[in-house]
């Protein structure tokens, strides 16, 4: 029985002793200190503060919390970072590379974004895929938001680069540039879309489309045909989304949603069906394709496996992920990464 083997195998996993020790150390330190102003609460130890005082120049108000954050993650790691403090400013937004370090085949870079004129940078700020990292060698990289300091309106990000060939990361110049970011992000879950599923067309017109993506167990690129939009009234109550199609194609219920300006806002949704007793039917596949070339609007078509009778007893429901603010600019910082 795979279930028994599975239980034995997963239960055999133990947290390594070294990890247990360092995590205990970090959390004990955090527990002894006063709460900080961080969204991801950060607490620096006294020793770390002393080390900073001795080794760092006077830190700007918006930079100091970044060091708090680094020391929460790991004091030992924080001390291996080199201060950079190079910045660029555009459209009232300052981007600053605060510190960086190389370790083996990876490099880590802390950077901040601060709105000097308003509140466009907030605790939900997301760089999504609008940043570029230029290095003289091939790397893979990702960037995640690790904190937000409400006092200075500064969001902190951690960029991690890994050498593609697994070689030690050489010290060199790196350029980090950013052209836009999203903020004021919001999640609306369990939204009811008052569409009459029992009235879904049983012979809808369909079309071949160029897919840009898709997911799900039953995802089948070659045989998929999308609905030709067939709904006149938009049953989606969430701004920026339009319910454009409903219909039965080869025994599966297709539900089509149009997302406005996807390229500009990264809005997205997950639709599912909710039964009378709260049961949830999730799509067995979903397909994505652009509305018109260059428009930035995108269709998402969800395919459900159930009978028309079952569908008649269900409500169309969605979880929506929205970005309220889209800020553009041209921020670029080149800095030395020393090994």
């Amino acid at each position: 029985m795979e279930e028994i083997r599975l239980k034995q195998a997963v239960r055999a996993i133990e947290m390594p002793r070294a990890m247990e020790a360092r995590m205990t150390q970090r959390l004990c330190r955090a527990a002894r200190r006063r709460p900080s102003r961080w969204t991801r609460p950060a607490v620096a130890v006294l020793a770390a503060a002393l080390a900073l005082t001795l080794t760092m120049p006077v830190l700007a108000a918006h930079v100091e919390p970044v060091y708090d954050l680094m020391y929460l993650v790991s004091p030992a790691m924080a001390q291996s970072f080199q201060p950079v403090q190079r910045s660029d400013q555009d459209n009232g937004i300052r981007m600053e590379v605060v510190s960086a370090r190389i370790q083996g085949d990876s490099a880590q870079i802390y950077l901040t974004l601060q709105d000097l004129e308003g509140d466009r940078v907030d605790a939900t700020t997301d760089l999504y895929d609008s940043y570029t990292i230029r290095t003289p060698y091939d790397t893979t990289g990702h960037c995640e938001r690790v904190g937000y300091d409400a006092t200075t309106g500064t969001a902190t990000f951690l960029v991690t680069l890994t050498h593609l060939e697994g070689q030690a990361m050489p010290g060199d110049k790196i350029t980090f540039s950013l052209r836009e970011f999203l903020s004021r992000k919001e999640e609306r879950t369990g939204v009811n879309l008052p569409a009459d599923l029992s009235a879904a067309s049983t012979a809808p017109a369909t079309q071949a489309v160029d897919l840009r993506g898709g997911s799900g167990e039953a995802f089948e690129e070659s045989s998929f045909r999308a609905l030709v939009p067939n709904l006149r009234d938009n049953a989606c109550p969430v701004e920026g989304f339009t319910l454009t199609g409903l219909g039965w194609v080869e025994g599966r219920l297709h539900v089509q949603l149009l997302v406005d300006d996807l390229l500009d806002n990264d809005n997205h949704a997950q639709l599912y069906l909710t039964g009378a007793h709260g049961t949830v039917v999730e799509p067995e596949a979903s397909y994505s394709f652009w509305a018109e070339e260059g428009s930035g609007d995108s269709y998402e078509e969800y395919v459900f496996s159930l009978s028309p009778e079952e569908a008649a007893g269900c409500r169309l429901t969605g979880d929506f992920f929205l970005s309220g603010s889209h800020t553009q600019g041209n921020w670029k910082v080149t800095f030395p990464l020393e090994g």
Partner: protein
């Protein structure tokens, strides 16, 4: 939002010792990366220490921690562009023997939404109602994911390891 209070350091040590491995195995299986799993476990316990929730018993406390850890894993997975896969020899370092690592590798190839249900049901032995609360889905959705996840796991395991 500022944390309302912070619990004593002794409690941090107790929490890591008591729940560290339980949370780590869930996060490692979900994320396939030791460093990400370490981050997720640390965040989970830190959240516990700051929020200082009170529970009727240890079972509720454990369920709360697993819920927070599962949410953290889900958030990390959403943001990811790469999907690391721990090689067999690395998995062995955490305790399982070589034979057990095969099923672990197969499990890590099952999509995350099924994987989390498989772990909570077969490893942590939670009933479906509790899993539904943890992952914020209906009981029937959990049942469906369990059935499909089990089928996927068996298919992958038989194809690649038997």
């Amino acid at each position: 939002m500022e944390p309302s209070s912070v619990r004593p350091a002794d409690e941090a040590e107790y929490m890591v010792r008591t729940y560290g491995s339980t949370l780590f195995r869930l996060c490692l299986v979900m994320l396939g990366s030791e460093s990400d799993a370490e981050d997720a476990v640390q965040d989970t316990i830190l959240t516990y220490l700051q929020k200082a929730p009170s529970f009727a018993d240890a079972g509720h406390e454990k369920a709360w921690l697993i819920t927070v850890a599962a949410n953290r894993c889900r958030d990390l997975l959403r943001r990811r562009t790469r999907h690391p896969q721990l090689p067999l020899e690395d998995l062995e370092a955490y305790g399982p023997d070589r034979e057990e690592c095969g099923i672990l590798e197969a499990l890590m190839q099952v999509p995350p939404r099924f994987r989390v249900v498989l772990v909570l049901y077969y490893v942590e032995e939670y009933p479906m109602e509790e899993i539904a609360r943890i992952i914020h889905r209906s009981v029937s959705a959990v049942k469906m994911r369990l059935q499909k996840g089990r089928r996927l796991l068996e298919e992958i395991y038989r194809k690649e390891y038997l």
